[in-house]
């Protein structure tokens, strides 16, 4: 009994502490009866707002022959509803001084409007309308299919490094799980889905209990909630969204060589790692994030500035992916230097870090200071703020995650970073894609 009381007190206390913390950051959160999550951050620096609607669906929910269908549907969301004709959505937003767009990623699809604060009701009303009343027509679909194929040509097929990334995903993840296929989809799939496939996707995932409304700007939180209730409140829960998990399935030790019409070589390595969402110890995920900063700085210094054997270095970790993800190292060797020489320099820097973590102590202090400053800088754009809030909500992490990030990173020691490198950067298991340029004639 005593334990129970203590437990509930502790629970109450921490919930209370969270509320205070969020209040400090001007955050209001609630959930409507139909499951729509609402997150509001007030920022009164300018008389404007951004309103974003995030659906918890994206490329990681897809499989062949429907890869890219979340993105295709995102395009079709601008093609009219029962009450608004084709193209009217953007026209009305524009006429009211706003700009709007949308984006699709692995784990989410999101729509947004940026407008003067007097237009809040309009933005919420129109976004709510297309959650349930989209009208899909074959004529519009066939044109938009061509637009998306052009988008794929532009972004990927005529871009050698983008092809390298696409191949890296193909070899790093099994085709029966998430993250294998490109977000935009395979060309054969884009060419072949039918209107009813899009309709099925829409009916299944576009429901209040699969979405989060995020509003950041000069707004009154109570008014946002009233408007959300007014325009989204009537929609029913879709009980068929069980949010079936489709975890990624890591593949290891795969390599691919691409000979492309290009001028510069490019090399990328991937290591299979957990994300903040999937790890059984969040400290490890933050250690991986810190490792990415340490290596990005350290390798840039050693390989670009000192040894001058690489002209660019990229180290990336996707802390906020929904499923197990990748830690990637990429580089372009300078002319006359082999990939092997750069790889071996990278390996020796990592070995050095593992054997002597104290080497990065000063670096770590500087990175932590930078992260603290960046946390302030990031508040300059309301769209950056709403992006983080919506993305966290979409993958199922709490809003507090954003505000505790700097503290969590501050808790990472040099030993933690070395440990993360030792545990996860196993080169014999790494996947790699190598671009061998063939010139452009």
């Amino acid at each position: 009994m005593k334990n129970l009381i203590l437990l509930s007190f502790a629970f109450f206390f921490s919930a209370f502490a969270c509320a205070i913390e969020l209040e400090k950051h001007n955050i209001t959160q609630t959930t409507l009866d139909n499951g729509l999550k609402i997150i509001i951050k007030t920022d009164k620096r300018a008389p404007v707002f951004i309103s974003q609607l995030w659906y918890r669906v994206g490329a990681s929910d897809e499989s062949r022959p429907n890869t890219g269908i979340s993105h295709m549907l995102e395009h079709m969301m601008f093609k009219g509803t029962r009450d608004y004709k084709v193209g009217e959505f953007s026209k009305i937003i524009a006429r009211n001084g706003g700009n709007d767009n949308a984006f699709t990623s692995k784990d989410y699809t999101a729509y947004y409007q940026k407008m003067h604060k007097s237009k809040l009701a309009l933005a919420i009303k129109m976004e709510a309308d297309r959650m349930r009343h989209l009208q899909l027509s074959n004529d519009e679909f066939e044109k938009e299919r061509q637009v998306v194929i052009e988008e794929r040509r532009l972004r990927i097929e005529d871009n050698p490094n983008a092809q390298v990334y696409e191949h890296l995903k193909l070899i790093s993840f099994d085709k029966n799980g998430a993250y294998h296929a490109p977000i935009i989809g395979f060309q054969a799939d884009i060419e072949s889905y039918h209107l009813h496939d899009l309709r099925t996707w829409y009916e299944k995932y576009y429901a209040p209990n699969n979405a989060s409304l995020v509003v950041v700007g000069d707004v009154d939180p109570a008014e946002v909630i009233v408007l959300a209730r007014q325009y989204f409140g009537g929609y029913k829960v879709n009980p068929n969204i069980t949010n079936v998990d489709n975890p990624s399935i890591a593949q290891t030790s795969n390599t691919r060589v691409l000979k492309l019409k290009a001028q510069l070589p490019f090399y990328i390595l991937s290591f299979s790692v957990p994300s903040l969402k999937t790890t059984d110890n969040t400290h490890n995920a933050y250690a991986l994030d810190m490792l990415a900063y340490v290596l990005d700085n350290g390798l840039s210094k050693a390989l670009i500035r000192e040894q001058q054997i690489a002209s660019s270095i990229g180290v990336e970790y996707r802390l906020y992916d929904k499923y197990n993800t990748l830690f990637t190292l990429s580089f372009i060797p300078v002319k006359g230097v082999s990939n092997e020489a750069v790889l071996s320099a990278i390996k020796s820097k990592i070995t050095e870090l593992i054997q002597n973590p104290d080497l990065i102590k000063d670096e770590l202090v500087r990175i932590k200071t930078q992260l603290e400053a960046e946390f302030v800088f990031e508040q300059d754009h309301i769209s950056t703020q709403s992006y983080y809030l919506g993305m966290l909500s979409a993958i199922g992490l709490s809003v507090e995650t954003l505000f505790s990030y700097v503290d969590k990173m501050n808790a990472i020691s040099a030993n933690d970073v070395a440990q993360a490198a030792k545990q996860y950067l196993n080169f014999s298991q790494a996947n790699s894609v190598e671009l061998i340029p063939q010139g452009i004639k």
Binding site: A46, P47, M115, H116, K335
Partner: protein
């Protein structure tokens, strides 16, 4: 008393107008400052008239000079400089365009951080040491950038388009230069370029953030004091209109053809600036709702992006329509784009379209200055291009009374449909 309070609150609720403070430092640098108090940070942009249009024959000189700022000073080496910025969370960057070479600092504004970040920033800008080892490295990096641009059809197209539209003008060449020009640039060239152009009289300082005007004055003074007074760079000649149509095709092994169609453009003090701005917004400058995108993408599904813009540079920039489509559709898309432009010039926009365009610009104007970064850009433009201080506050007023005839006349005066550069980069069909 109640009346007074009401009156005050009405003022603060009225359209967001920026309180732009401005002055000139004793050394002759122009300063524009806006105080914003909600975030404990400060942004500074130093805009020198020192960019690629000042290269002379040494294409790539301005970019290299800008790249070497931050590699060494008379007191510190590169790693010490990087550590100095990083250890206080400050961000230094340099960017060199065709008109402006921009050095910027983003820093927290609390006293002990600000003091340190300003000291190192000032040192980097005012006491550089141009060293051969860094020049050698940056030249190699530039050669890699040249190669990177050669494998992108979009970059190949942009470069060729500028060359055609600008002809012999200093805007014509690529700011990163070519292998041949880069190889011949020496440390002495960099020093001379710096001495001539990175001087107080050739500088516009923009500051936005959480510091007082007194503090802002000290900051501007500190930076400007370390520079030579120098001379303001003489204006470049104006870009001249094209004599004839140029049809150019560059073979490239890509799946899409990149189409760039256009001619000489305008600067920000052009007498038709506002009708051209509004007209372009409606024609191709407002995303999916613009006429060009409607014809190319919405009606025909020919391209993912189709847009137009004026680059608005000091000596007249360029006007360009741009789209990408699969190679076999290139001719069809070209015909539609030119016909859409022709139609726009020869018949007035309908009233609804005109009103929609105005409503978008006017109703969304507050978005233009919603962040410190946005404000910083505007202060830089206003100062560097000698725009009136009420440029932003009068913008809405300038737009609201423009008629369809004004737009049509302005486009007719500027755009000669029979003298366009029509450039395609892609695989020939």
């Amino acid at each position: 008393m109640k009346v007074l309070i009401l009156f005050l609150s009405l003022i603060t609720n009225a359209y967001a107008t920026l309180d732009i403070q401005h002055w000139t430092t004793p050394e002759g640098a122009k300063v524009l400052f806006v105080q914003t108090q909600d975030l404990p940070m400060l942004d500074i942009a130093l805009n020198f008239d020192a960019a690629s249009s000042r290269d002379g024959e040494q294409h790539g000189l301005a970019s290299l000079t800008s790249n070497l700022l931050g590699t060494a000073t008379q007191a510190h080496n590169e790693e010490q400089i990087i550590n100095a910025f990083e250890s206080i969370g400050a961000q230094f960057s340099s960017n060199s365009l065709k008109d402006m070479s921009i050095l910027s600092l983003r820093t927290l504004s609390r006293d002990e951080v600000l003091k340190k970040s300003l000291n190192i920033f000032t040192e980097v800008v005012t006491l550089p040491s141009f060293q051969q080892k860094y020049l050698t490295r940056e030249k190699r990096q530039t050669l890699q950038s040249i190669k990177a641009s050669e494998q992108s059809p979009a970059s190949v197209a942009s470069k060729a388009f500028s060359k055609s539209v600008f002809g012999k003008h200093p805007y014509a060449h690529s700011k990163i230069g070519t292998q041949a020009t880069i190889e011949n640039i020496t440390i002495e060239d960099l020093k001379r370029h710096y001495q001539q152009f990175f001087v107080a009289k050739n500088l516009t300082i923009a500051l936005v953030g959480d510091v007082s005007k007194v503090k802002a004055k000290q900051i501007a003074r500190q930076i400007s004091h370390g520079l030579n007074v120098g001379k303001k760079a003489k204006p470049n000649p104006m870009v001249m209109p094209l004599n004839a149509t140029q049809n150019i095709h560059i073979n490239f092994p890509s799946k899409q053809t990149h189409l760039l169609i256009g001619q000489m453009g305008i600067n920000r003090t052009h007498p038709d600036y506002y009708p051209l701005y509004l007209g372009n917004h409606i024609f191709g400058g407002s995303g999916l709702t613009s006429l060009l995108s409607n014809e190319i993408r919405e009606k025909k599904g020919l391209a993912y992006s189709a847009y137009s813009y004026f680059s608005q540079m000091q000596s007249n920039g360029l006007f360009m329509m741009r789209l990408q489509t699969k190679n076999t559709q290139a001719n069809k898309a070209k015909t539609i784009a030119i016909a859409t432009l022709n139609n726009f010039i020869n018949s007035p926009i309908n009233t609804q379209k005109l009103q929609d365009g105005k409503d978008n610009i006017i109703g969304g104007f507050a978005l233009q200055t919603a962040s410190n970064a946005n404000i910083l850009t505007y202060l830089s433009l206003i100062g560097f291009y000698n725009l009136p201080l009420d440029y932003l506050s009068s913008f809405v007023h300038q737009i609201k009374d423009i008629s369809a005839q004004d737009v049509q006349n302005a486009f007719k005066r500027l755009i000669d449909i029979n003298k366009l550069v029509v450039l395609s980069v892609g695989a020939e069909q």
